[in-house]
């Protein structure tokens, strides 16, 4: 229907021109093509290069890829149409939010790649020398001592990044599903690659895979029902069908419900968060950082687009349900976070609480809500990335010392690391002059403006509760006596230092002078094609 009208409009606009088939414009999607192409090249590196050359080649390729994609992105942004355009026969929508999300993803992946590439904090890197070795065997003990690593983690990272970028831009649900799988499958594998505590790592990979498969099934079932309702998987077609039709709403809302469950799972919004703590804890810390920062960005990019473009017109029917989900997520994150004794699990629950805050921005369904949520994603990604970078530095003889009791008195032994981590925790808590506060502020302000004041009050109370567990870590680090056999802080190599510095600088910059990033985030809305 809408296709026909648009054809008609075209025909009226250019009556004299003969119909001509244009080549699909690919200028807009160069960043994706670069990332996916480099991922394929990276696989070839694994197959063809001798072992000792792989790590340098892969690191160089990954960094070059990110730089090239960023350059293409920047050159495209300068003369991109303000309203956005579609590419690949309408399956990808490249509009302002997409470009912002791409930029965010590329920058965050840069940080994550730096953490992944680091081989000085843990000699040989955080990844297993050979994933096929069974945990606990003699060979396993030998690989812990060796300095080899499975460099397959680099192509996997690039594929995941390509999937995430496609996911944010997907203009129809099938593309979105394919992108979802492309981003998820590498992540499942990457979770199982930890060099130490391999059982925990493999358990987390299996758990993530099984639950992720369920979520994908939900998503796909939802797509099927929506196709049955609208006769199309295009987001704009679903919106058009929902706006003016006397078709049964059952299909629409059943389909939407299943679809959203799949999305909320990926974004680790409570009560669909159950994988989060286990996976965050078990996965190698650089992968956790990548997952926590980038998956959240991609998943919320998808949620924003689906809710605004496809279901914006029916918001009065479903918004109440998502109110409830946001409240549950914030409360689960804040309350269960209080009881955690492991730093990585604590940040995992914090991410569940943050997902609740993000969802508030996403269901505001206004331009302010969109730009606020985008900005929040940017701030949260960098803060959490740097936080995991710091976590990877605190180690004892058996690897990372993630139990909270081991962090006691850290400030005495390494004031700098404790200071940086305190700053990041304050940012997660949303203290002013950090990016976390500005992010919360823009999201809550959009929510109040669209009539969700009660939800904002609940969110603020949840923030206060969550502040307690961040504070607890600060208290431990500064005011407690260090344990006698406590962990030591590794002096990070250049890569990890660069990643943490990046995260901290962005967190501070966006807290003190956020105006430019707010302008970027608010420069346009979703294109509806």
């Amino acid at each position: 229907m809408s296709v026909m009208t648009s054809v008609l409009v075209l025909a009226q606009a250019q009556p004299a021109q003969p119909a001509k088939i244009e080549a699909p414009p690919i200028g807009a999607i160069w960043p994706i093509l670069i990332v996916l192409g480099a991922a394929c090249l990276s696989v070839l590196f694994e197959a063809l290069l001798p072992r000792h050359l792989r790590w340098p080649a892969q690191v160089a390729l990954a960094l070059l890829t990110l730089a090239a994609a960023a350059v293409k992105l920047v050159t495209y942004v300068s003369d991109a149409p303000a309203a956005g355009e579609t590419a690949m026969f309408g399956t990808l929508a490249v509009d302002r939010p997409t470009l912002f999300l791409w930029g965010t993803l590329l920058a965050l992946t840069l940080g994550a790649v730096l953490l992944i590439a680091d081989r000085s904090v843990e000699p040989g890197g955080a990844f297993v020398a050979s994933a096929a070795i069974r945990p606990g065997t003699v060979q396993d003990r030998a690989q812990v001592a060796s300095t080899g690593m499975q460099t397959e983690v680099f192509p996997l990272t690039l594929f995941a990044l390509g999937g995430m970028m496609t996911f944010c831009a997907a203009n129809d649900l099938l593309t979105m599903f394919v992108a979802l799988e492309v981003l998820s499958l590498p992540l499942y594998l990457m979770c199982g690659l930890a060099r130490r505590r391999r059982l925990l790592s493999q358990e987390s990979a299996v758990k993530y895979f099984l639950l992720g498969a369920f979520a994908s099934a939900f998503f796909l079932y939802g797509v099927a029902l929506l196709y049955g309702y609208a006769g199309s998987v295009r987001l704009s077609d679903i919106a058009a069908s929902a706006a003016g039709s006397d078709r049964s709403d059952t299909l629409l809302f059943a389909g939407m419900g299943l679809l959203v469950v799949g999305l909320l799972f990926k974004a680790s919004v409570g009560p669909f968060h159950t994988w989060t703590p286990d996976v965050y804890q078990g996965a190698p810390t650089p992968v956790t950082a990548f997952m926590a920062a980038c998956t959240k960005v991609a998943a919320f990019g998808g949620i924003l687009r689906v809710l605004q473009v496809a279901f914006g017109s029916t918001q009065w029917e479903w918004r109440g349900v998502l109110w409830g989900v946001a409240i549950v997520s914030m409360l689960i994150g804040a309350v269960l976070g209080l009881t955690q004794t492991d730093v990585k699990r604590m940040i995992a629950y914090s991410s569940v609480a943050h997902a609740g805050f993000l969802l508030i921005g996403a269901i505001a369904l206004t331009d302010k809500g969109l730009s606020g949520t985008l900005f929040y994603l940017l701030t949260y990604g960098f803060t959490t990335l740097a936080a995991f970078g710091v976590i990877s530095l605190v180690r004892d003889s058996s690897g990372e010392a993630t139990h909270l009791s081991q962090w006691a008195g850290l400030a005495k032994r390494s004031p700098l690391v404790a200071g940086v981590f305190t700053f990041l925790l304050l940012a997660l808590a949303g203290i002013p002059l950090t990016s976390g506060f500005v992010g919360k502020f823009v999201v809550f302000q959009a929510a109040v403006a669209s009539g969700m004041a009660p939800l904002v009050v609940i969110a603020l109370i949840a923030s206060a509760v969550a502040a307690f567990f961040y504070l607890r870590v600060i208290v431990l680090m500064y005011f407690s006596e260090p344990a006698a056999d406590g962990p030591s802080v590794t002096v990070p190599g250049a890569f990890t230092t660069a990643a943490i510095t990046l995260g901290v600088i962005v967190t501070l910059l966006l807290g003190v002078a956020p105006a430019f990033a707010l302008d970027w985030a608010g420069s346009g809305v979703f294109a509806i094609h």
């Binding site: 808590a429 206060a464 005011f479 002078a513 105006a515 707010l518």
Partner: protein, 541 residues
Amino acid sequence: MTNPTSVSSAGSWLLAALLLLPLLGAVVVVALRGNDGTAKAAALGFSVVEFVLGLVAWFRFEPSGARLQQSFSFDWIPSFGVHISFAVDGIALVMIAVIGLLVPLVIGAGWADKLPEGRSKGGFFALILLEQALTVGVFAATDVFLFYVLFEIMLIPMYFLIGSYGGQRRQYAAVKFFLYSFLGGLIMLASVIGCYVMAGNELGKGTFDWATLVQVVHDAPLSTQIWLFFGFFIAFAVKAPLVPLHTWLPDATAEAPIGVAVLLVGILDKVGTFGFLRYLLPMFPDASRKLAPLVLVLAVAGIIYGAMLATGQRDMKRFLAYVSIAHFGFIALGIFAFSSQSLTGSVTYMVNHSIATGMLILVVGMVIARGGSTRVADYGGMAKLTPVLAALFLIAGLSSLSLPGTSSFVSEFLVLVGSFPNAPVYTIIGTVGMIFAALYVLWLYQRVMQGPLRGNALVGAAGGPGTMVDPEVGAKRAIGDLSGREKLVLAPLVLLIVGLGIFPKPVLDIVTPAVNATMCQAALVDPVQAVQSGERQLQCR
């Protein structure tokens, strides 16, 4: 009467210097922290220069001029209409001057304190200077967003001051202090956003400018005002502290080092009562009037409750906290009794309380430093050993109970006289608090200072091994009277207590225009004027 939101930017460099100097000082002192001596000297130097600057700002201030003076402003986040803008009115100015006065005294009083192991004097004084910069900012901010930011940020140095340098249970006290204030602040944030969104709806573009927000919000419907009022009120009532939200203060005061306790009670808590005056009354006049009985009940409850608990305290530092809770009750009573006398009384109370209670805390700190115990029962007859300390203890105590002739009497009298016409019952109950005040102060003085020499802290009995006991007086050798430094610290406070008690005009002159402007913004009618002129409304230009 001047326009309640008029602004003048003359002398703005002064205010900028007042804000930046302590920051600079903090950086310098941190850099020098390797050497205790130079760090201490630098901290004292910066704080004294800041005090002088504060005096200059005081004399440059024109009471008959614009409401907000020495203002400056520039963009911070243009897309949200956030500015970095500062200015002072009379109320803010006197508070900034009090900060300038107390910080050098606190540094002087903490000159020789023993800090917990591994902490440096430089770090301690740098945090104090940082706290000073932030509190000056809170009083001077004229952008509500900026105010909120500073309101929250100022918790962090205080958190570390209590948590790193405090007593036995300092972790608990620091976290409790932080969480109470942070939660209050977050609830205020909801109201700040609410006001911003209202401004956006009404003006087309949101703003955080205080004067503009007052215009937009002050004639909102009563129900909206009440919601927004509560957001701000809870934050300020935690800070001030009013009774059900006060429980963090005794813990924080008891665990904080003595100088930090002075800053906490003398300055940080005043942000709450300052917020009542600067934000609640002008922005939500209808809600303020509607909810005044609630606040008055809390205020009077605070007066009586604080006084009763102060009387029964066995720990001297907790005693100080409860005394302050009672005094904050008086300040809140004066503010919500809505007459120009009572408001003026409350503002001067804020100043005099900082001076009198600040001195009382310092004196008690000197007692504790000598005896090494905070328990009242460990002392007795100390006046025999330390006559000068005892005399100053008495002066601080008498000022705390508002003896005529001390500065506190002026303000307490103004509060009670001004409150009576509008809130007679509350005022009468509040006056009972004065009787309690005499009881708790004099009884404490009697137990610690008078009578025969006794108590484990003073007599050698329970002193640890190595305690030297002077055979002639039977007391520990280490206990001597005030040193020259300590006398120098207390002297300015004594002078001010007596001076402002006899001649309070300098303070009254500065604050009266701001008080009148606040009355006028809140559309409050002075009972006296209403009778004289028969008008229902003050005329504001």
